[in-house]
């Protein structure tokens, strides 16, 4: 199965990237833009067709490597590959 994982900074954690992008969007004339936050997007394929087991595996990957859970949250969706 294929997982689409998004990793975002926890609410309240400073997001310098998001802040800078927001400023650049304003300067480009997108004046109404607000609340810009940047995160990571990771696609992963696992050789696992059972959604529950695939989910468990993705979660372990996120916890162990993909996200730094001190400052980041993660979420994911599974597709049948």
């Amino acid at each position: 199965m294929k997982a689409r994982i998004t990793i975002t900074l926890k609410p309240g954690v400073l997001d310098p990237q998001g802040k800078a992008i927001e400023g650049a969007l304003h300067a480009l004339g997108f004046g109404s833009v607000d609340g810009v936050r940047q995160g990571k997007y990771i696609e992963v394929e696992v050789a696992e067709s059972d959604p529950a087991r695939a989910s468990a595996e993705i979660e372990r990957m996120c916890e162990q490597l993909l996200a730094n859970t001190i400052i980041e949250n993660y979420a994911y969706e599974l597709d049948a590959a």
């Binding site: 310098p16 990237q17 800078a20 992008i21 650049a24 300067a27 940047q38």
Partner: protein, 229 residues
Amino acid sequence: MKASVIVFPGSNCDRDAAVVLKSVMGHAPAMVWHGDSELPKSDLIVLPGGFSYGDYLRSGAMAAHSPVMREVVSRARAGTPVLGICNGFQVLTEAGLLPGVLMRNATLRFICKDVLLKVERNDTGFARHYQEGEVVRFPVANKDGSYFADDATLDRLEGENRVAFRYCDASGAVTADANTNGSCRNIAGIYNKTGTVLGLMPHPERLADAALSGTDGTKMFASLVEAIH
């Protein structure tokens, strides 16, 4: 000769470029703040290295939209020589003045060290003091220095003789080992069609002073002074 160095928020090689320009021109260049839409009359425009806007999002992306860049683009199109070093090269590609993009180094790490470059042509205002095929030493200092373009673009660049420098070994051989950042076809710098816009990742301004253990970079600035006069 009048030169302008564009200063973006986060530029950090602006002073280094200015010091070298002053030493070859005999007078200081104008330092132009990115927010200015006015650009003084310039015979040469330098986009210096650094981390414009922190290189957040993509290196050079936000700077490419600075107010002053509109003017830089139109001067470049009108033939004013433009030199983009490191972050300046990234800005030039993001602004569409040069093709391709600078991606994360193959090692994924920032790399700061001297590299050897093969001078691919010397018939431009930037390179007339070099020999064609000469091996020169410039430092690199970047994380996003891996030049990428699709094959058609690369073929076109080569067909139009627009590659300025390639990473090479001491004998001038263009090898995979010498390609520190994983650039397509070992490309370290490219020209626009007319040879008046040069973007390169290595820093000629960093070895343009005998006290810094090398002067290969001086020739680029001296070439420009001669070409512009």
